[in-house]
Structures are given as C-alpha cells and as structure tokens.
C-alpha cells in the first residue's frame, strides 16, 4: 500500500474503533456513591435489631429467596421462581412450599449458595439463644427439608398467610461454621456476608460503613458502581450542606423541614413518588379511658365520629400545613398494594353536615357555644407528640371544631410516654386518650395489620397488654372477614375480603385518616438509576446505579 492509502486505512480503523467504543456501555462503570444516614445501624445482622436504618444498609449486601417489586408483586431473587399452585411450588392446602434455588449463585466470598444455607437460616431463627426480633411464621413451620442442593421444602402445620415474606434474608452457614447459638455476638453483625451486589469492607464506628462491588455477584456486569459508602452524619443541616458541596451523593430520609431548602438546591433530585411508608391518623377511642370495659361516653356514638371526620379538612391540612408536598390523601388503612380498595374515596370536608350529625345525635348547642347532652359537655382531648406539624394540625382542628360546638383540648406528650406500652403506663397502651394522633406503617401483606388492629381480641388492655387495637374496635362482621381471609390461599379472594372489611372499618370511622407521608430521599443529579419503592429501602436496586459526570 502506498503512503496515502496506509494513512487512510489507519484513519478508518481508528474511527471504527472509536465507534465501537462509543456504542459500548450506556452506563459508565466505576465511581462510588456516598449515602448519608443520620443514624448508625445497631447491627448488620438481618435477624436482629429494630431500627429501619439497619435494613437500609443491609439491603445491598444480603438477599433472600423472594422480594417485592415496586408494583407490589412478589418476585424471585435467590429462588428461581415464586412458588405457586401453577408451578407446583405451593401445595393445594398451602401447607407445603417448595423453593427451587437459582443455579450458580455464590456468596461474596466465593462459596456456593445451597439449600443448606436456607435450612441454617431457619435453625438460627428458631434457636432459643438468639434474640430474634420476630419468629412469626417460622414457628408455624414443622420442617425445612433439603432433598438436594438447590431445593428447599418447607412444611407448615397451619397456613401462614404471609409465607411469601419468609426467608427475606438468607444467612451463609459456612461463615458461622454451622453454629446457630448466640449468633448476636458473632462478628457477622459487624462484618456481614451476603449474595447482594455489594460486599462489606469496613465499619468505622460512628463515621461510615464502606461497601465495594461484589465480584461474585450473579448478574453479569453489575453493579456498575465500584462501591457504596454510608456516611453517618447526625445533623440534617450539615448533611444538606454536604450535598450542596458535593461531599455526599444522597441523603436518606430527609426531614420535612428541609424539603423547601433542598427543592431549591441546584443539582439535587428529590425522590417523593407515590411511596407511602406511613399513615398519619387520628385514632378515636371507642372505650371509656377511665374504664376500658365501658364504651366511650361521647365517641362510642358513630354519628359523633362521622361528624368529627366531616369536620376535618384533610386536603387543606396537606396543602397548608405539610411542607414540600410529600403527603397524600389517605382513604383507607391499606390503600396501596394488592389488598387495597380500588374504589376508595377520602372523606369530604363538610362542616354543616358535621353540625347536623351532632344535632341528630342529641348534642344540643349550649350557652357557651359547646354542645351538651344529658348534662355532659362535648369536650374531648387530643394527644400527640410535640412536633410542630402536629401541633399546628391540632390547633387548626381546635378552632374549626369549636364552630360546630366541640371543645377540643390539646395535651401532647413525649414520644416514649405517648407510645408507652400498657405495662409502662403509656398513654396509648393504657387507652388513656380520647383522640390520638400518630403515624403508623404497614408492610405489604396487610393480614397482620388487620388482625392486630381491628379484631376484638387484639384490643389492648389489662388482659392483653401487648395488644395493638388501641381503640377497642370490635365489629363481628369485620372479625369474620379477617378470619376468613387468613385461611384463603388465593390472593384474589383474600384481597376481596380485606376490601370488604376495609369499607366497614371506614364507615365505622375507627380513625380519621389524615395523610400518607413518604420517606423522602434527596440525591445528586450525577447519580443515575435510582428508583423509588414503596416497600423496600432506598438501595434496593443499587446494582442498577451509576454515576455520570
């Protein structure tokens, strides 16, 4: 070839190479994402500890058999598929579940994942020396068999309605050398090993937890990031300043008061979405706070409760008092997920109707503007924690309800006193309230929620100090529906029953539901691939994240 041709050929080769390189990964590989958390996890062992931040950090490290996708459907993770009636994984009576594990999955240290690990996890949970947060569901399992290395057969003695949520974390038996006793003291809590996209590197107490890419991760080419660092910064103002200065890439669970500031910050994305992690509600005590075996002198009348609900301007509270637009109208206790009522409508605000209902209930306007019936004034006390948002809401209701003749007194308490259990003499636990305003959240499967809060036996009191039904709600029809739902294997049938129960509960106005608030995360624009998820923690899809620029 002569000179010119040679140079042309070289140029073409060069351009061809460039093009191929450019066509390569749309996501750049490399980089580290720093996530700021305001609390330090107690432990990284999935079976222990009670703080939500533990799960936030565990999420990219440890996986389980199944998980839930953002649409609320169960999907397989370490299992090859979700056991069901169709594929034979679930027996007709729902008492036998057969999991097939994915092939070729290894732990981050290279050891293979086998069915023995699942059995080990079960043994660890049931080992009495372990202060496991909850053995619910596992105590219904009669046996966990491992016919071969990739098959696990779980047999229950009674139907566990939430069976899909079991084994959400699988422990590596080899790290513990097969020993399940006293696991809480094992170094695993500070040095976890899992199958997730990232593996643990180090934990500098009070400062940070460092993770790096898991070279043995089962998805080829992922994660894109080299590492994740969880930085512990207790002060939310400093965290915001760090985000602005580029010293962090993401802030977990931002405070409400910071949202306006963060919305203004250049280069910052706010993750609100439709995620709802907790519902703020005003629970109405149906029992007499002074004597729990008697009905409440005022609130046991359904018309009064309905009147109070009509007198609550839910949308105005959200628009006017909640900063940053991250609250959504709540219409039922369970209003997202497969068990939600698709036709649920939030209550309306109608002061006149409220006044009318009170009249019908026999409460007549007294000389001081407060209604009276049988010599008793319509005086109620609302209790909550002393947070600004809640105080504002209480004051709003106080002035509004006065217009319909209700004398609302405000008495707030410190959180541990308000939420104290019956044995501690807590306000909520002892039923010592008229109206109680607080937020509570549900898991994806509503069954536990319904059983704990809306059945007669769940009523908290001297016979049942651990009960979660603080209002003393007891409706035999609802009881029947919930019980039946607990025996159904078919999800559709269960959903139907829950919806019916939910409608009755709403009509009974057991609580005035105010709004759903979501966990809000703020992150830098350079971090891509982040997606919200109503039931999982923020790093649930960390294997998809990458940095740009």
């Amino acid at each position: 070839m002569d000179n010119l041709a040679r140079r042309m050929f070289a140029a073409c080769l060069f351009i061809a190479c460039l093009s191929i390189a450019a066509l390569g990964f749309a996501q750049q590989r490399g980089g580290t994402a720093r996530i700021t958390i305001y609390q330090e996890p107690e432990t990284l062992h999935p079976l222990f500890g009670s703080q939500s931040v533990n799960n936030v950090v565990e999420e990219p490290i440890i996986e389980g058999l199944l998980t839930v996708n953002p649409e609320g459907e169960y999907v397989p993770v370490l299992a090859a598929e979700v056991p069901s009636l169709e594929n034979g994984g679930l027996s007709e009576d729902g008492l036998t579940v057969t999991y097939r594990l994915k092939e070729g999955v290894t732990w981050s240290d290279g050891e293979p994942l086998t069915s023995a690990d699942v059995k080990f996890t079960f043994d660890a949970i049931m080992d009495e020396s372990n202060p496991v947060t909850s053995t619910d569901g596992y105590d219904k399992m009669v046996s966990v068999e491992t016919p071969d290395e990739h098959t696990v057969v779980v047999t229950y003695d009674e139907y566990d309605v939430e069976w899909q949520s079991r084994f959400s974390s699988v422990l590596p038996a080899h790290v513990f050398e097969g020993e399940t006793a006293n696991m809480a003291f094992h170094p695993f809590a500070r040095n976890p090993v899992g199958t997730g996209p990232f593996r643990f590197v180090e934990w500098v107490s009070g400062s940070r937890i460092v993770l790096e890419r898991n070279p043995n991760y089962r998805e080829e080419g992922k994660p894109y990031l080299d590492g994740l660092v969880f930085q512990i910064v207790p002060s939310p103002e400093v965290a915001a300043a760090q985000l602005q200065a580029g010293e962090t890439d993401m802030i977990w669970n931002v405070r409400e008061s910071q949202i306006p500031e963060l919305l203004e910050m250049p280069g910052v994305v706010m993750d609100f979405g439709e995620e709802r992690t907790s519902t703020e509600r005003i629970q109405l005590n149906l029992r007499n706070p002074e004597n729990l075996s008697e009905p409440h002198p005022i609130l046991s009348d359904e018309r009064v409760r309905q009147a109070l609900q009509y007198a609550t301007p839910k949308q105005q509270i959200i628009d006017g008092l909640i900063e940053g637009g991250r609250a959504f109208l709540a219409c039922a206790h369970v209003d997202i997920g497969w068990a939600a009522d698709p036709e649920c409508e939030p209550s309306e605000y109608d002061l006149e109707r409220a006044a009318q209902l009170l009249e019908e209930a026999g409460w007549e306007m007294g000389p001081d503007g407060i209604r009276v019936k049988d010599g008793q004034r319509l005086e109620l006390t609302i209790s909550s924690t002393a947070e600004k948002q809640r105080e504002l809401t209480e004051q709003l209701l106080q002035s509004l309800w006065r217009q319909i003749g209700v004398d609302l007194r405000i008495r707030n308490h410190q959180s541990s006193v308000l939420f104290g259990t019956y044995d501690e003499g807590g306000v909520r636990g002892t039923g010592n309230f008229d109206l109680l305003m607080y937020a509570a959240s549900d898991g994806l499967d509503p069954h536990g929620h319904y059983v704990e809060r809306f059945t007669c036996e769940g009523a908290a009191g001297p016979e049942n100090p651990g009960g979660y039904n603080f209002s003393g709600y007891c409706n035999p029809e609802v009881e029947r529906l919930i019980e039946q739902a607990g025996t159904e294997v078919d999800l559709g049938a269960r959903a139907n029953l829950y919806v019916q129960a939910s409608r009755i509960i709403q009509d009974d106005v057991e609580s005035i539901l105010l709004y759903n608030r979501s966990e809000v995360n703020a992150y830098s624009e350079r971090l891509k691939g982040v997606e919200g998820h109503p039931w999982a923690n923020l790093a649930w899809n960390a294997e998809e994240w990458y940095v740009e620029g």
């Binding site: 703080q51 202060p131 003291f185 009070g206 400062s207 207790p234 400093v238 300043a241 100090p465 979660y468």
Partner: protein
C-alpha cells in the same frame, strides 16, 4: 502530699459506689428499658419480649442486677451493649481516641488563648484592646455551640471551602495527619468558644483583683519589671479560679461535646452516651457514667494538688 493524694483517692471509692448505685436505680425508674423499641413493634409478640427479657436477665430484682453489674465491672467485664451486642469497653475504646483528640485540642486552644488575652486584658484595662476583648468574650460565651458549629461549617466549609464539612478524616486518607488536623480545626473552635469566653473573663477579673493588692505594689516598689510582677507574682495567685474552672471543664468535655460531635459528625463519647440514653442501653450508659464520675473526681483531686503548687500557703494535713 502523697499521703494526701492517696487519701483522696481512697475516699473516691465509696463515692463512686454511691454514685453508681444512684445512677443504676434512677435508670430503672425511667419508663421503657432496653426492649422498649421492640415492644412498640407490632411484629414482635409478647412471647418474643418475654423470651428476650429472660435472656437479658431483666426480670431479676434490681439489687441482683446491680450486683451482677458490679462484679462484672470489677473483674474487667463491663458487659455487652443491648443494642449492638458488642463489649461495652470495645465500643468506648473505639470512640475514646476521637474524644481525647477533641478534648486535648480544645484544652490547648483554651490555654493558648485565655492566658495571654486574659492577662493583657487585665493589665491594659479599659484600653481599646480591653474593650474589644470584652465584647468578643461576651459574644463568645453567649453563642450556643450548635449555632456556632453550623455557622462555621456553612461559612468556612461550604461557602469559602477552606475546611471540610465535618467528619474526622477524609475517606482513604486515614493515615494523613494533615488531613486529620484539617478536620479538627472547626470542631475545636466550636467546642472551645464558650470556655474561651468565660475563662478569659474569669482570669481578667481575678487579675484585676490581684493587681490591686498590696504585695503587688510592694513588688513594683522593689523595682521589679512590670513583666515579672505580672507573670511571676500576680498571675500565680490570680490563676487559682482559672485552675478550678479548667479542672471542672475538662472532664465535662468527655461527654459534653455531644452537640459539637453531632454537628461535625465526630464519633465521640458524647454521641455514644446520647444514643445509649435514647435507647436505654443500660450497660453502655453505666460504663460511660462511671468513667465520667471517675474523671470528675480525679480532676478535682488534680485541681487541689495544683493549688498546692500554685499557692504555697495551701497545705493539706
């Protein structure tokens, strides 16, 4: 002096025991307990709580629990945290260097600034220098430390970019001493500010009192240079209240740097103590409180011994 010091140390022991009993009993009366958070979790059933209570020995009578704790302490086993299940001593040991560094830097800054400024301010009373110092010290001791900390971070960290926004050291630079010093500057200023303000005023007032005494006039009359009069004669006597202040301030920094530690994400004992208090992690709380009490008793003893050095008239028999 040695006999005196020894006697004081020995007297400290029953005092420590009394303090520990008091604290232990007080902790028991607070509603809640190490399992309080779990009790509010609907997924945790009463059987689970009961099982955990047995495991942790929380059902035993209080004197038994105290006895168990005390015997553990004396044999070097300071117990395990209910929250992290790690040995308490290990948890304290991790954070202790950070606290000591901050305490040390803060004390150094205090001494380096307070003594010359306090002295000069008294000697040059009512001059421009004194007036400026007076204003600044009042400002310094009035500013709340959390506000000052945030202000320092935002101005010097975020806007000017001169200093990092919190933390002990940059990720990956753990061995770099300069990097650590860089991170130390702002929290030290925030922590020491109130002390600097108040101690400077104490020293100034004390010096003014001393400078007006007869023997100072005598020293001047003897022809000694002003410098010698001030430094060797007046200051030694004026420093007594300062010694008292320092003695009480230093152990206070052990757990008292909580706010600074929170703002600057500094993992020290203050935050450990606070988190343990919130979660009612009894073993950690007791351990930190005992160390604090011991530090305070020790600091008082050292202060008394320093008095003897400073003022020859003071002798204990």
């Amino acid at each position: 002096m040695n006999a005196y010091a020894l006697r004081r140390l020995v007297q400290g022991v029953p005092l420590m025991i009394f303090i520990s009993v008091l604290i232990f009993t007080l902790l028991q009366t607070v509603p809640g307990g190490p399992l309080a958070v779990l009790e509010r979790n609907p997924d945790v059933r009463p059987e689970d709580i009961a099982r955990l209570e047995e495991q942790y020995g929380l059902n035993d009578p209080i004197p038994v629990q105290y006895g168990r704790w005390l015997s553990g302490l004396l044999s070097g086993d300071w117990g395990y945290s209910y929250v992290t299940n790690r040995p308490v001593l290990e948890m304290i040991g991790e954070r202790l260097p950070n606290t000591l560094v901050l305490m040390g830097a803060s004390t150094v800054l205090l001494i380096v600034l307070v003594i010359p400024i306090g002295l000069l301010s008294a000697v040059k009373q009512y001059t421009a220098f004194d007036n400026v110092v007076t204003v600044l010290t009042y400002v310094g001791l009035s500013i709340p430390s959390f506000w000052l900390g945030l202000l320092l971070i935002i101005i010097f960290g975020l806007q000017l970019g001169w200093f990092p926004l919190g933390g002990v050291v940059t990720l990956g630079q753990e061995g770099n001493l300069l990097d650590r010093l860089h991170h130390l500057v702002l929290p030290t200023i925030a922590l020491a500010m109130q002390g600097i303000g108040s101690d400077t005023r104490y020293l100034r007032a004390s010096m003014l009192d001393t400078l007006s005494l007869d023997y100072v006039r005598t020293a001047r009359a003897k022809g000694l240079s002003e410098g010698r009069v001030v430094r060797k004669h007046a200051f030694r006597n004026a420093s007594m209240p300062l010694v008292t202040n320092f003695a009480l301030e230093i152990p206070d920094l052990f757990t008292g740097a909580l706010i600074t530690e929170t703002i600057f994400a500094w993992p020290g004992i203050g935050r450990l103590y606070w988190e343990a208090a919130l979660r009612q992690d009894y073993n950690v709380l007791m351990a930190v409180l005992i160390i604090s009490a011991a530090l305070l008793i020790l600091a008082n003893l050292i202060a008394d011994l320093v008095y003897m050095l400073v003022d020859p008239r003071i002798r204990y028999n």
